[in-house]
């Protein structure tokens, strides 16, 4: 009888209070999934130390990682943003072609090797970041450098 009337408020579900000023501000990455996927191995190459640091901090924070690892988290975000900015500065056309291809192909990396090869080359030449898959067999050509992709739908994008 005395139940509280249900409120169905679909507009204001977001609490917009900003972080207190004692926390340094950081610009969020703001990229959607395809550019992130396209840049992931370069983010991994440059930000490995920060990423590991952050994940280690969270593991060892004993359940308080969200509150205690903000500093490491900011470093991770800044590093990832720097990679994306550098890619935009030096390899914008290749980057854009690749992630648009990923967007059009269900984010399957093997459908877009044609655009990935120039992107990898450009990033390696300009940013000195190399795509390397850890744990891949040493005696084979890495899967992203193979000429023929067995699972690709068309041979025109290989």
């Amino acid at each position: 009888m005395s139940a509280r009337q249900p409120r169905f408020n679909q507009q204001v579900l977001v609490d917009t209070t900003p972080l207190p000023d004692s926390i340094p501000k950081v610009q969020e990455v703001g990229a959607s999934s395809a550019p992130l996927l396209s840049a992931s191995f370069f983010i991994g190459a440059r930000c490995q130390a920060y990423n590991d640091d952050y994940m280690k901090c969270k593991t060892e924070a004993n359940g308080r990682g969200e509150l205690d690892c903000l500093r490491e988290g900011r470093k991770v975000t800044r590093c990832a943003t720097s990679v994306l900015e550098d890619m935009n500065k030096h390899c914008l056309t290749e980057f854009r072609k690749h992630w648009e291809c990923l967007d059009n192909n269900n984010q399957q990396l093997w459908q877009c090797r044609k655009f990935e090869r120039p992107l990898n080359k450009c990033v390696f030449d300009n940013l000195k970041l190399e795509k390397k898959i850890p744990g891949a067999p040493e005696n084979e050509v890495p899967v992203h450098e193979r000429k023929r992709q067995i699972f690709a739908q068309s041979i025109t994008t290989q």
Partner: protein, 119 residues
């Protein structure tokens, strides 16, 4: 009446097989051919599986490289809401109450929804 006897010189041989020409190759050749086709097919399947493993590894590592970025953003947002919640509680109640008996961060189950649109 005398009994019937076989004709002189015996009966003609019974023709129990048809004299049709044998078609195709010897069966052993077919066996070998099928074995060859199967071997080639399994070779291709094996190649495909190897490649699939590598593609899976690539996808897995691309996500592993992205996890910290996404998690950091999510955590920052959670902490922002958490502290806003604390501030709101302090404003309304005058003091902060501890809900749990330890100081782990607990992701809130319920979100505060304002009664009327303020912004």
């Amino acid at each position: 009446m005398p009994q019937d006897m076989p004709p002189t010189g015996g009966y003609e041989p019974v023709q129990y097989r048809r004299n049709l020409p044998v078609r195709g190759f010897r069966p052993a050749y077919y066996l070998v051919a099928v074995a060859g086709i199967c071997t080639y097919g399994f070779y291709k399947v094996g190649k495909g599986i190897r490649e699939q493993n590598e593609l899976a590894r690539e996808k897995m590592w691309s996500r592993i490289h992205l996890i910290p970025v996404l998690q950091a953003e999510e955590d920052r947002d959670l902490v922002r809401r958490h502290w806003a919640e604390k501030a709101r509680e302090k404003e309304l109640m005058g003091a902060e109450s501890k809900i749990y008996n330890n100081d782990r961060f607990v992701r809130p189950t319920y979100a505060v929804t304002p009664g009327e649109t303020t912004k």
